[in-house]
Amino acid sequence: MEFSEDSLTWRSLPPWADFLMRLGYQCANGLAVPRRIIVVSMPVDSPGAGLVALGAIRRRMEDAGANDIEEHYQTLVYRVKARDSTRVCRRGFRGSFVLECIDGNGDIWARRSKPRSLVVANSTSDSRDMAITINRRTASQWNLKGEPPFSTSVGEILPNYGLYLNLISGARPVEQSNLHTTDSTICLAGRSMGEHATLESLCAVSFRHDGIEANLSQLLGLNSRQSGTVSRTLFYNSRIGKFDRTPHTTRFVIADGDVPFLRVLDNNAFSASTVIAVLHRTIDRSNLEAIGGKLADLRQWYRPYTMALAQVQNMPAGLAILALSDHAGV
């Protein structure tokens, strides 16, 4: 596996990048419980959070059925009940449909254009005024308007299978079906400077193997709205406090910097998520003290955690880690 930080100079995967990906991979191994807070302190600004996220989604890709299908269907049902005029899209149909109601069979009705009459259409027709049903089985063919494609029924397969396969030596194979569906279990909380700054940092790092080349943003599937591919990483814009799609069961969040770390800890959407923060130490004292203060608070409820770290060998000099767990000795 080759690695580049400027898309021009290629070298073998450096130890620091390998370490961070393995950290994400190991920590994503036991996503359920207990919640953990892990802070990685770096001596330099880096796309380290993206590398941890990549390791985590790589581990998630090994599990069969690692996707949002059930949560996605539940979201559609919730939106209908909330009567918030949510719009959905599907490949093969022009325009968007409004979620309207749920009938006696539990099917969701989606309608395009103005409601003159409800006309049940088959799924291949494309009349201007039509309504269509969505059920648990077909929900994955629909995605919410403005959000990344939920599955390859709507969008494109996540490319770069060969890169995922060889990213971490000794890792188990990737379950290929996962490249066909969107998953929101792993979340990247972007930089406080915003989405553009985060993507710029991630795009600077590229991987190459057997002629396949992709940057970190592509591997995380963060530009899926533009590229039309499914996405394996939920993005949280910590500058404005918004997700790039409806968050379902985010169990693992990686914060890119000190401010995102604090905002993640204060956000109820992440109250049960394991959090890994990748910070660099070249920041103002007040920012360092804000982190120190938050960690002091957390230490009242969490205890030092060492097990996962013991499995991750060869920590580079200059890098430091603090890990807390809400269960002693786990």
Partner: protein
């Protein structure tokens, strides 16, 4: 160009030793001067006379600067001490102790006036060695202090001190590629006059730190803070006896500290240990109705100070909710825009404050009088109570035309004294109604240029806040157009909306904490030079 993470880790992993060469400069005369000035400042801290605060602030800032910047001794401290007035009247006003301290301090300050500053002398030798040996080095200092380093060297050598050799902020340090030596004057402190990034110890991009400090002003305990590492105390902190050499580890890096004492026996030895003036000044400053503030720099010369938890009207081009009130301490970041609203009076199309009828008149008169008799004008103003340091250069500054603000005295009382001395009001006898408030009108013009907030009651202020938000949002597209082109600009809202406010927008260049500021200087455009005096 910044360093890549791989190169940084490579730098840290290669075997090397990290050294702090700490030189403690001892000058008995300067120590005695420090002691007497400190005594005066401490005495002033115990009075409730508001007029001494300016003098005390000036003394603290002058001494703090001498302790952290390689300046020649010169006249600065003498001028600061002379703000107290005639020594004969000092005893009657503040007591015999203050008078005795003043007389002694003036004596030592005059003895030092033409003496070589040993810290500068030592620094010259170090810099010359670095330059001539071809070692890569950088200098950590405040942006305003670059000149003090350049004047130490000959013209040929100072040409080596190009702009990028200086590091002023943690952001600039972050961008540094590794080098060999970092030079710093003053102790390692997290805040205030000697402020330095903790990262110089926890994430070093160099292997040797050369540090020159005055006796008694040691490094801060706890400097090199890393929130995830156990607390460490670096050796050679204030008032701590220490061996000549010691090692300590910090964030995986082992440092060796080597201490040298540079003794200049200019007026005989002294027996007492010097106190940490910087620390004492900080504590005295806190006790004088000063409030914590963060400094937001809007251009090379101007800034605005905000209470850390105040809500600031701002514009963030990267946000969906671009127009919002954001918390000063953690809501504002570099690259956002500050918005100053002016509700009651339209201003010129140009962002510059504009030469209104008032400033035009008094500046012309001031320049005329200053040209005629600069010394006499300074003396008369000083006698009238305008007791500012470097009054002559300040008058020259006030004569300048408006830029971002109208250059003028910072305080209303000082401005009133100035106008009174210029005799503008008495010259306008034909219109007694206007004359009565001439200086107030002129002062309001200055205040507007500084963007001072208009005062309302709490409920009215809240309603006003909402009105401003609505008005600003209505011109968001125009704002976005301008932000991509300019670093500061001004826009008006169509008159049918609210009261037709005008907005001045400034791109945030830098945010810096560590200021202790009187409340009435918050939320207005200030010259950086003015704000500097309130560094902790």
């Amino acid at each position: 160009m910044s360093i890549s993470p791989t190169d940084m880790f490579h730098f840290l992993q290669s075997p090397r030793s990290y050294v702090i060469d700490m030189v403690e400069v001892i000058s008995p005369t300067f120590s005695l001067l420090r002691r007497h000035v400190l005594s005066i400042v401490a005495s002033f801290a115990e009075t409730d006379e508001s007029s001494v605060e300016d003098i005390s602030q000036c003394l603290r800032a002058t001494m703090s600067q001498l302790l952290t910047v390689p300046l020649p001794f010169g006249d600065t401290i003498i001028e600061a001490l002379q703000l107290l007035g005639d020594p004969n009247s000092v005893a009657g006003r503040w007591g015999r102790d203050v008078n005795a301290d003043l007389v002694s301090a003036l004596g030592y300050a005059r003895a030092l006036r033409d003496a070589v500053n040993p810290l500068r002398d030592w620094l010259r030798t170090e810099l010359e060695q670095l330059i001539h040996s071809g070692i890569s080095f950088r200098i950590l200092c405040h942006s305003r202090d670059e000149g003090s380093f350049r004047t130490i060297l000959s013209d040929a050598d100072s040409s080596h001190l190009l702009g990028d050799i200086f590091i002023h902020t943690v952001a600039e340090y972050r961008q540094c590629v590794p080098f060999e030596v970092l030079v710093k004057v003053g102790p390692l402190r997290s805040r205030g006059w000697a402020k330095a990034p903790d990262a110089i110890l926890t994430a070093p991009r160099f292997s040797r730190l050369i540090e020159g400090v005055w006796s008694g002003c040691g490094n801060e305990e706890g400097f090199g803070y890393d929130p995830i590492a156990p607390a460490r105390i670096i050796p050679f902190a204030s008032d701590k006896p220490a061996p000549e050499s010691e090692t300590f580890s910090m964030s995986g890096t082992t440092w060796e500290v080597r201490r040298t004492r540079l003794f200049r026996d200019d007026l005989g030895s002294i027996s007492d240990t010097d106190v940490d003036d910087l620390q004492v000044f900080t504590e005295l400053g806190k006790s004088k109705d000063l409030n914590s503030a963060i400094l937001v720099r809007i251009d090379r010369e101007h800034c605005i100070l905000y209470p850390p938890h105040s809500r600031v009207l701002s514009f963030d081009p990267a946000s969906d909710d671009a127009v919002a009130y954001r918390m000063a301490a953690d809501g504002l970041i570099e690259g956002m825009w500050l918005v100053l609203a002016q509700v009651d009076e339209p201003v010129s199309d140009d962002l510059r404050a504009g030469e209104g009828q008032y400033s035009h008149v008094w500046k012309q008169k001031l320049e005329q009088k200053y040209r005629q008799d600069p010394t006499g004008l300074c003396e008369r103003l000083h006698f009238a109570g305008l007791n500012l340091l470097h009054l002559s250069s300040r008058i020259e500054h006030w004569c300048k035309p408006a830029t971002t603000v109208i250059p003028a005295p910072q305080r209303m009382t000082h401005f009133e004294m100035l106008i009174d001395e210029l005799g503008i009001e008495s010259a306008s006898e034909n219109n007694p109604v206007r004359v009565a408030h001439w200086w107030k009108r002129a002062w309001n013009e200055i205040r507007r240029s500084r963007g001072e907030a208009i005062q309302f009651g709490f409920q009215e202020q809240h309603a006003e806040d909402q009105e401003l938000l609505i008005a600003l949002t209505s011109i968001e597209p125009q704002i976005r157009d301008q932000t991509s082109l300019l670093s500061a600009f001004q826009l008006a809202v169509p008159s049918q909306l609210t009261r037709g406010p005008h907005f001045r927008l400034f791109r945030i260049e830098l945010i810096e904490d560590g200021y202790q500021v009187p409340q009435h200087y918050m939320r207005m455009i200030l010259e950086l030079e003015v704000a500097e005096q309130w560094r902790e």
